[in-house]
């Protein structure tokens, strides 16, 4: 799993994490709480600034949009009232994206848009944990595609994504709330319901996911089990490493 998730790879940042999954690879860095510009200072909370840089070129409209989604979500997670009038800056750099045959074509950009979202969320979550900023909860997120024939696909390939009838990204908090839901394509409530259930299984503690879902549905965090479990295990490992000195 160290292959897919690395905690604090960056020495200078207060906290950082890098994730690799499904052809994407992202490095997230968190800095904060630091001094905030007078302009966007919030009296009773800390401002959160998400910066997303695409693999190639500079960010545009699409990146801004993703940034706003991530910012809204993290605001729920970070204990913003703990550090008022400060800035918490999250920088997300897409290192690698799956090669898209006709990437030039905008029409499918939106698809890749969503498929990028989970790993962005995931890596920023991990980066936050490594920063040890006070949080209200943790969360995990996953991407589920619905093919034209109506069956659900996890970890859809680029091709599958392109052909999918609809795409769904859902994020669940450790308290079991649905934190975020982004869906596009054509579908109806029942399909969405199904997606919801699948996603919940993937994300939440495995004890409420049924045994059939043990195949590697998670963000490649190697050992089976839900994303939340793997998240936990990552942290445990970190702790173990840091407090090695205690034993012996």
């Amino acid at each position: 799993m160290t292959k897919d998730v690395v905690l604090s790879p960056l020495a200078r940042a207060d906290g950082s994490a890098s994730c690799t999954s499904n052809g994407y690879s992202v490095i997230a860095a968190v800095n904060g709480p630091v001094e905030v510009q007078r302009r966007d200072e919030i009296p009773e909370e800390s401002a959160i600034d998400v910066v997303l840089r695409p693999a190639i070129g500079v960010g545009g409209v699409r990146e801004r949009h993703l940034e706003s989604i991530i910012e809204k979500t993290l605001r729920q997670v970070i204990l913003v009232s703990a550090h008022p009038r400060t800035l918490i800056q999250i920088t997300l750099q897409v290192v690698a994206a799956p090669v898209d045959s006709n990437a030039s074509n905008n029409l499918h950009q939106s698809a890749s848009n969503l498929s990028l979202l989970p790993i962005l969320l995931q890596s920023s979550m991990l980066a936050l944990l490594s920063t040890s900023l006070p949080l209200t909860m943790t969360f995990t997120s996953t991407l589920i595609a619905v093919s034209r024939s109506g069956e659900l696909v996890r970890k859809a390939s680029v091709k599958a994504l392109k052909e999918a009838a609809s795409l769904h990204v859902l994020a669940f908090s450790s308290l079991g709330e649905l934190l975020l839901a982004e869906s596009e394509g054509a579908f109806d409530v029942d399909i969405w319901d199904q997606v919801y259930r699948w996603a919940e299984k993937d994300c939440r503690k495995s004890d409420l996911g049924d045994p059939t879902q043990t195949d590697d549905v998670d963000m490649d965090l190697s050992k089976p089990g839900s994303l939340e479990d793997s998240l936990r295990s990552i942290i445990e490992e970190k702790a173990a490493r840091e407090y090695r000195w205690k034993e012996s």
Binding site: R38, V58, G59, G60, V61, N106
Partner: protein, 340 residues
């Protein structure tokens, strides 16, 4: 450099469709002025259409020449459509040094689809120039020392511009494109007059103390359309006349135009913008007045008649407010604040 604020069309120049001028259609004939020379076009003016602003107004000139049977995709005569929002008075941004009075800034912007030639998203020279004109017209109006250390922004968006008639189309992309390029045509002048009127209404709507209202008026020297189609006019001199509120597309060649921002109740002028050759007007030799003065007076005439509309619109709005506010605050003077 690439525009990252919006999703852009395919890279590569796009051009406005060129229409086949089939002589059969009436619309392709240049429209003629149907109004008498001293009549201005109908103006629709209403305040308070933009609730999110401190004050706002919308102005529309109704196309004078009778709307044609719309068999044609691009209607050749367009009507001026302006919206103006006023923000403030509000505290000045930190960057601006302390000022004991109200600082006014005006931003005039054409919507990209406002004119025949597609406009860019950044303000070009002609737009900036218009802004300067509008500021000049308004500054004289405000009783600015009643609003210390504060600023007010007047934002005018031109949804639809006067299409600039011959002067414009001939002059190529009149200044829109090339940096400090050529001037844009006569249409600009009537746009300015509209801007002044609408801005004045919006400012009054925002409840900012003014010494008067300013209304715009345009008058032009035109060569009477003796031969409709000759552009090479100079040689064959047909009689010149002065018309109020010229609609550029209606006049084969306009020789000079004068815009004024006029304060009626003070009989003063806060803004003049005049261009062109105003020589050889009928009855120039005899009279004491120079051609310019004759033209100026006519422009003022136009301003006076647009002032009527301005007053009416404000009256209506004010009555509306009064009856709305009736419960809100008892109409006794002392309780009003924020002034002086």
């Amino acid at each position: 450099m690439a525009d990252r604020r919006r999703i852009n069309p395919p890279s590569g120049p796009t051009i406005t469709p060129i229409f086949l001028a089939s002589p059969s259609d009436p619309p392709t004939q240049p429209p003629h002025r149907t109004r008498p020379p001293h009549e201005i076009r109908k103006i629709f003016l209403k305040t308070g259409l933009t609730p999110s602003a401190s004050g706002s107004a919308y102005l529309e000139l109704e196309p004078s020449s009778s709307p044609k049977p719309t068999t044609c995709v691009d209607r050749s005569t367009s009507a001026l459509k302006l919206t103006c929002t006023v923000h403030g008075p509000r505290p000045l941004p930190r960057s601006v040094p302390f000022s004991p009075h109200l600082l006014l800034t005006a931003h005039v912007k054409f919507a990209p689809f406002a004119s025949k030639h597609r406009r860019g998203y950044v303000r070009d020279t002609s737009e900036r120039d218009l802004s300067v004109h509008v500021e000049t017209a308004l500054r004289g109006l405000l009783i600015s020392e009643r609003w210390p250390k504060s600023g007010v922004d007047v934002v005018i968006t031109i949804l639809e511009a006067e299409d600039d008639g011959p002067a414009f189309t001939e002059g190529g992309s009149g200044g829109a494109g090339d940096g400090a390029g050529g001037l844009s045509g006569w249409g600009m002048m009537s746009v300015l007059s509209g801007c002044m009127t609408v801005a004045s209404a919006a400012i009054a709507d925002a409840g900012i103390d003014c010494s008067d209202l300013v209304s715009g008026g345009v008058a032009a020297v035109v060569r009477q359309p003796s031969f409709p189609h000759t552009q090479t006019g100079a040689s064959k001199a047909s009689p010149k006349e002065i018309v109020l509120d010229p609609c550029p597309s209606e006049h084969a060649d306009i020789l000079a135009v004068c815009v004024v921002g006029y304060l009626r109740s003070r009989d003063q002028i806060t803004e003049i913008w005049t261009r062109g050759d105003m020589e050889g007007l009928p009855g120039e030799e005899g009279s004491e007045q120079s051609n310019f003065e004759v033209l100026l007076d006519q422009a003022v005439e136009a301003a006076v008649s647009s002032r009527l509309v301005l007053d009416a619109a404000l009256k209506e709005a004010t009555e509306y407010k009064l009856q709305k506010m009736a419960p809100a605050l008892p109409s006794s003077g002392e309780k009003v604040k924020g002034s002086d």
